[in-house]
Subunit: 349 residues, 2 copies
């Protein structure tokens, strides 16, 4: 478990195949000088894909394996193939310290189960969380976590998620003190579950954290761009993420329907194409690709199954940034602050 | 608590004032022949507003009061003014049986607290829930509940919400057997909390309900139009509702920004205006106005604070339909089925 700039790539995951994965990794390599890769998967197909990318070819070694984790495979079944699949072996490389990070576009549940089992949670973290970047109306994306790894969470989990999310935002968006809020059903102190209220008071009392914690936010403010990290349990986080995706699709579907409702609209649509392109670009998941499992002894990044080369490049870029900035160390630092505070409080009682 | 076609109106609630409320009620009156109203609030202002609506004037009596519940008033404070405010007195009229339903565009928290205290939950219901209609890509809206009345819910609560939501969908959308699903973070049986899984098995076993229960749905499928009722606890329901509202606003804001980014886009926008109008119409909350507190001994409908006359008319229409179709009786029927099943199971043990 080192931070050497070496990333293990599951070349076989994702719906778009080896060629798209390799094109994406090659693009990321151009942004990160000195980065090296081990590419896990079918050697013949990887080699063929590398033909177009001499820069990546020169920076990579191939580790052949036959096994692949299926997109619909249950995590429990996938776990049995940890040592024979491209996904499993990429994670093993992180465990052995041969790589600092792993990137896969495969089955999320399997990736999480394998990562947890192989890498274990880092000291001070009870449960890892799944974090991702979402688009906003502001200049930066917003980090949301947990997006589904933990269905039920207590106050301690939520506090740890806040610490991990803030560390991720500092690295991914170059912020010194990210604005962190807990997702709630109102912004008044009285609102929400006991767990959320307790987490809020712990975070308020912890003054030395590298974040600016400011209470609660609500579902309608996720994309406003005035918050950098939104923390929730995995159930409501997953509901919020999917509702946002579904609603964005719903509105653009309505728009498409409206634009094809008359010849006049069709003409308007043609003229407005650059504007529509801007919208599409902003909502494009490839622009915000790279969900991260935070809280493990090692960096694991999940690329969208349907990501294009640009999307894959963004996911690899996220992994490289997390390695370069040593996210594990940053999380450890903030956790130590919270633990010191808890100890001082216990001693004072 | 009768079902006579008489509705108590809180004339003072809402951001748009007495005139908009009266215009909306007058519009609803035209759709429901024989409906009568008691209008609670400032007599002078109500009378002035009625000048434009002789049809409503002829079908109404005015009950003057000076007190108003403030938009930002805490529910606990509002409760003390149950007998002196337009909102409180409208609910009292339902309690006394003088009206079958109350409609208010005022403070949601205060309306819920006052309604619960005055009307109490109906037999067989542990907790009332807040339900609303949301737009979909299909022909019908979708009923969502609970939207924030109950932060934490057990399986029994969720089952009762399903029964109430199905009854509401039958009335509001004229469906004989609404398709009901529980909101979850996946559609596989293994997904979600214990409460959700237990609620699903109770609903699956209850064969004689007037609904077609079909397991789980996810946040990205809320607006697809293939489900009629989506059931959740009040926390995730509120998160989903607000995230949907916020994302719709986010996308339309992006669109506006894109359309004003160049002269070409502006021209395109002008030509596409009818298309944009269609989109706006579909997303307009006034089209889907009328959130309902289900599970009380009496019908209480909450109109959006910012609703226009058309929105208010829709809220009053919802109240009238719930009265005409005797929603309380429909809920009672389905609850009896579930209780009979539970008894039979206990006896069999």
């Amino acid at each position: 478990m080192t931070n050497k700039p070496h990333i293990a790539i599951d070349a076989m995951g994702g719906d778009e195949g080896v060629r798209v994965m390799m094109a994406g990794v090659a693009e990321a390599r151009r942004r990160h000088d000195g980065l090296r890769f081990t590419l896990f998967g079918d050697e013949t197909r990887i080699k063929a894909a590398l033909d177009n990318h001499p820069n990546l070819n020169a920076a990579s070694e191939i580790a052949h394996c036959d096994g692949v984790v299926d997109a619909n495979e249950k995590p429990a079944t996938a776990l049995r193939k940890a040592n024979s699949t491209s996904m499993g072996l990429a994670i093993q490389a992180v465990k052995k310290g041969e790589a600092g990070a792993a990137v896969s576009a495969g089955n999320t549940g399997a990736l999480m189960a394998m990562s947890k089992l192989a890498l274990r949670t880092m000291p001070g973290i009870d449960r890892p969380a799944l974090a991702a970047l979402l688009p906003t109306l502001g200049d930066n994306d917003v980090v949301m976590l947990d997006l589904g790894a933990n269905t039920e969470c207590d106050a301690r989990n939520l506090v740890q998620f806040a610490v991990m999310g803030a560390a991720y935002a500092r690295v991914a968006m170059d912020l010194s003190s990210p604005r962190v809020r807990l997702l709630n059903i109102g912004t008044e102190d009285l609102k929400g579950t006991g767990e959320i209220k307790d987490a809020a008071s712990i975070l308020r009392e912890s003054a030395d954290l590298q974040m600016s914690f400011d209470g609660f936010t609500e579902g309608d403010k996720l994309a406003r761009g005035d918050v950098d990290v939104i923390v929730s349990d995995g159930f409501s986080g997953n509901v919020a993420l999917k509702t946002a995706e579904g609603t964005a699709r719903f509105v653009t579907d309505l728009l498409r329907r409206a634009f094809t409702s008359s010849i006049r609209s069709k003409i308007g649509f043609l003229i407005s194409k650059p504007a529509m392109h801007l919208l599409k670009h902003h909502l494009d998941p490839n622009q915000h690709n790279g969900a991260v499992f935070l809280g493990l002894n090692g960096v694991v990044v999940k690329s969208h199954g349907g990501a294009n080369a640009k999307g894959v490049a963004n996911a690899v870029h996220v992994a490289a940034r997390l390695l370069e900035e040593d996210i594990t160390q940053r999380i450890t630092h903030d956790l130590a602050q919270i633990h010191a505070l808890a100890k001082a409080e216990t001693a004072a009682k």
